[in-house]
Structure formats: C-alpha cells, structure tokens
C-alpha cells in the first residue's frame, strides 16, 4: 500500500508535467494543425529562465516565477511572429519541419548560455515529506498536482468564456469560416503559441523542482507524443488525462515490474489504444447528423 501510494503520487506528478507540455502542443495543433516538435524545448527554456531569474539574478521566487511566465509569453509570441508567420499559407508540413529546426535552436541556445552540465534548481516548492495515512510522500510532488490542475481549469475557462478563447475553437473548427467572421488568423496563432509557451514554462519549473535541471529534460518532449495520441491530438481534456495515464503507467511498471520497462509500456498502451480508437480516447469525433 505504501509503495502503491508513493508510485501513484510520483506517477501523477510526472504525468501532470507531461500534461502541461501536451496541453500547449494540443492548443497549437488545434489552432493551426502544426505539430510542434519544439514543445520539450519550450519547457526546457522555461525551466532555465526561472533558474536564471531566481538562482542567478537572485529574485525572490514569486517574482522569478512571474518573470519567467512573462518571458515565456514573449518567447511564444516571438516564435510565432518570426518563425511561423512567414510560413502562413505554405503547406503545414513546412511549418512542422520548421519546429524541428526551432527545437535545435532552442536547445543550442540553452547550452550556449547555461552550459551542458546539470544545475542546482532553486527549489521553491517545499521539499521534505508529508505523512498521509502513515505513508511519507514528497511535498513538492504533492503540490505539482493541484498546481497543474489550476492551470488546466484556467485554460478551460479561457476557451469556454473569453472572446479569443471561443474564437480559437472556431478557428479549430473551420478556419475559412472563422476568417469570414473577421477573426485574424495570425492573432489566433500568436495566442496559441503564447499559451503553449506558458504552460510549458510552468511544466519546466515543476520539473526543475521534482527532478532537477539539465539540458536533458527537453527529452520530455518525446513523452508528449504518446500522451497526446492517447488523449486525442485535438483534446485538451484528453491531454490532461493522457498525461496522468502515461505518468501512472510509467510509475507502476517501473515500481512493480522493473526499471527500464517503464519507458516502453506507454508506447505499448499507445498502440493498443490506437487499434481501438484511432483518434485517441478523447479526440473530437466527426459530428454526423442523421
């Protein structure tokens, strides 16, 4: 029971970090059908930005986090403006390829500024253990879960109630019809990239707290794929649930079966799910009237 609880908390907290990265991926995909291969690097950049503002500049952690989020918005907007907007109207595959280049540029930038060796992340989440029902669980990991939940709820409210949020869903449904409503498509893409960068930055900071900081954490970008394909490429709720499922599966297989296998199991599950539901667990079904 003790092991089970610990694995659950560990898996869920990892899963929430995956979900934070995946949500940004889904938002970009929904708005522009672009598959963003640089999602892991956005997360990496966010983590290093908070490291720089808290550990290197010495800002209080609250201010450092806020600064990181502001910078993340700026980076998201800049990427859209400089890298993707010139490609609007080109085939989507060109945009996808450019995100692969972007991931290399971002990773190289991090390496150039902060070097390749691991850094000590300025942990601002409480470390140490919390005893729940006689089991000691990591406090930082326990905090990651509700924090991510808050981000998801805010995102949900954004898409449900704000003018731009509803417009983004309209663009996802029918881009040309949205254009005929006077919606500026570039603006929607820009908002999507800003949101993706922010949620990735939050994920990066959480990850820095629970596993530490090194350029390797961008590898989490690869985890995004089983997560979003499991949940459905175009479903935000799917990204959250997919993240939780993959995180838990990794933790349980790693804990009960053996380390190493935990890296394979998500992909096995993925293949099984795709055989049954090709558009993912929560992918948008095509509405057919009868």
């Amino acid at each position: 029971m003790e092991v089970f609880l610990q694995l659950t908390v560990s898996g869920l907290s990892n899963g929430m970090v995956y979900a934070l990265a995946a949500v940004g991926f889904v938002v970009i995909y929904k708005a522009s059908e672009v598959i963003n291969f640089a999602q892991g690097e956005l997360l990496l950049f966010g983590a290093y930005l908070s490291f720089a503002s808290i550990a290197q500049i010495g800002l209080p952690w609250g201010v450092g986090v806020a600064l990181t989020l502001v910078l993340a918005v700026a980076i998201g907007l800049a990427i859209e403006r400089l890298v993707l907007r010139p490609l609007i109207g080109e085939p989507v595959i060109s945009m996808i390829m450019v995100t692969i280049g972007l991931s290399g540029v971002l990773r190289a930038t991090v390496n150039a500024i902060w070097g390749p060796r691991p850094r000590t992340f300025p942990q601002f989440l409480p470390s140490g253990g919390v005893e729940i029902a006689g089991v000691v669980l990591g406090a930082d990991r326990l905090i990651v879960i509700p924090t991510a939940a808050v981000i998801f709820v805010l995102l949900g409210l954004f898409f449900r109630y704000t003018r731009d949020g509803i417009a983004m869903r309209a663009v996802a449904d029918d881009q040309q019809a949205a254009l005929s409503m006077g919606i500026s498509i570039p603006r929607i893409f820009a908002v999507a990239w800003a949101l993706a960068a922010v949620s990735a930055a939050v994920g990066g900071m959480m990850l820095g707290n629970i596993v530490g900081l090194s350029p390797n954490i961008s590898a989490i970008g690869l985890r995004v794929f089983p997560v979003v394909i499991l949940g459905g490429l175009d479903s935000i709720a799917g990204a959250v649930i997919g993240g939780a499922v993959i995180g838990l599966l990794e933790a349980y297989t790693g804990g009960y079966i053996g380390n190493g296998l935990n890296l394979v199991v998500p992909f096995i599950v993925l293949i099984l799910v795709l055989m049954v539901r090709p558009y993912g667990l929560f992918g948008k079904p095509i509405i057919e009237r009868v």
Partner: protein, 282 residues
C-alpha cells in the same frame, strides 16, 4: 423583349446610392485561371440584389472577391476595382473588410460544429467594438429564428440543415453588417424551410435596413425577393435588370426558371439563337 433588358449599363438605374460597385473586376486563381473576366455590377443601398447564373459562372468567386476570402483559395483580384461606400476595398484583407460592415454567409452554412449555437452567435460578433449590445442582438436573432433559442446550448453540428442555415444567417446578423453577401442560402433545404428563411431575409432587409447581395441557383426564388438582378455566365454579367423584368425575360424564363410556353414547340434553332445572342453580349 422588355425595354432596357439585356444590355449591361445600357439602362438607367434608379437614383439610389450605390453601396457597392465592382468595375471591370478580373479574378485569377493560382496566377493562371481567369474566372472573372471584367465583371461590373452595382448594389443599391437598402436593396436585395440577386446574382444568378449556372454552375461555374463565377458567382461564389464574385462574393469572395468582395469579402476578401479569395486568398485562402489562392485567388486574387488581378484587375479592376471594388469600392464600398466610396472606398476601394479590393486590397484589404478579410478581417478589415468585415470591419467595414460587409459580411459573407458562406455556401454550405459553415457553422462551427463543435461550438454551441450561442457561441456561434458570439463568434459572429467577434469584429464588433460595441460589445455591450451583444446580448440584445442575440435576442434579436432568436426573435427572427425562434427555433434557435431552444437549441442555444447545443452543439451546432447536431442542428438540422435548416437550423444551421438559420444559425449562419443569425451569426451574420450579430456582426450588424450594412451589406450581407449570401451564397446559396437555399442549398440542400426543404422547400418549406427555404420559404421561411427567405421570408426572414426580406424582414431583415426591411427592418434592419441591411443591403443584400444574394447568389442563388434557384432563380425563381431569388427573383421573388430581389429588387434587382444580374445574370452572369462564364465570368461576365450577361443580363442586368429589375427582378420583375428579369422574371419576364424569355431567355431567363427558359434557361433559369424552366418555363416554356405550353403548346409552343421549341426548336433547336431557338437554343442556337440564345447561344448566338450570348456570344454577342459577351
């Protein structure tokens, strides 16, 4: 032939302000395919103007040229001018054109299927600056189309075809356009629904003062609500007259309204006559 029918520009228009004026518009797709070959037409303030013609004549292209929606289809206005209330708009993008007060109801309804009816209406009002008036206007749409109100919270994809067309028109109303472009509003709908929708269009035209340019395959229907009509073929206007005159025109009767005089045998020569005439006009 009725006096004045058939000669573009050869006839005095009623003295009303021209809201929209297309002159010698040429539209190219992919830089090579010429779809509009010097098209000119005008739409009078407060009128309903019908644009008729066979498939492939360029009716939808004409509407898209006005609303700036050619670009996603790789089309462009290569020559000529489109002016709206005295300003040239053919160089503006779609977003700017919506803000000028032109709103296109696209062919095939194009509702946002995964958004609710209410959200679809909200998106229609996206370009508006006076957001405070949005609730009132939503109510107004529900007054025009009572069926939509009961479905307000449902996803638009689950509405019937008729309801979707009503939603598409309601969504346009939310933008409070001064010129509404309607592309085949009757497409794929049952005749009774079509009547309802066209009755509401007439009401909107008179109650809101919205000028309308309607593209229709169903010529009889379009002429029944329009004040003025144009017939286009192969990228050009070939007839231009009031809708009454068009409805009485022999060629329109035969080729668009499907009417032939009973007991009067049509010979192939008559068709050839029409072809000849058409060539001469274009």
């Amino acid at each position: 032939m009725a006096p004045g029918v058939g000669f573009p520009g050869g006839r005095r228009r009623p003295l009303r302000t021209r809201v929209l004026e297309l002159s010698n518009v040429e539209v190219l797709y992919d830089d090579v395919i010429l779809v509009l070959k010097g098209l000119s037409l005008t739409v009078a303030e407060g009128s309903i103007t019908a644009l008729l013609g066979p498939n492939g004549a360029g009716k939808t292209t004409t509407l898209k040229a006005i609303s700036g929606l050619l670009r996603p289809d790789d089309g462009e206005v290569a020559d000529g001018t489109i002016s709206f209330r005295g300003h040239d708009i053919h160089k503006l993008d779609a977003t700017a054109i919506v803000r000028q007060g032109i709103f296109q109801v696209m062919e095939g309804r194009r509702v946002f299927e995964h958004l609710t009816v209410e959200e679809n209406l909200l998106v229609g009002a996206y370009a508006r600056t006076d957001r405070a008036a949005i609730p009132d206007d939503t109510q107004k749409v529900y007054d025009y189309f009572p069926g939509l109100e009961t479905r307000a919270k449902q996803q638009a994809g689950y509405l019937s075809g008729g309801e979707q067309q009503m939603l598409a028109i309601g969504r346009a109303l939310m933008a409070r356009p001064s010129l509404m472009l309607l592309d085949e509003p009757s497409l794929g709908l049952a005749p009774r629904l079509v009547r309802t929708i066209f009755d509401v269009l007439v009401r909107i035209n008179s109650e809101e003062g919205t000028t309308m340019l309607v593209v229709e395959q169903n010529a009889r229907l379009a002429l029944s609500i329009a004040h003025h009509g144009y017939v286009m073929e192969r990228g050009r206007i070939v007839l231009d007259a009031t809708s009454k005159e068009l409805a009485a025109n022999e060629d329109v009767k035969e080729f668009y309204l499907g009417l032939t005089e009973v007991g009067h045998r049509r010979s192939y020569r008559d068709v050839k006559h029409y072809r000849r005439r058409k060539r001469w006009l274009s």
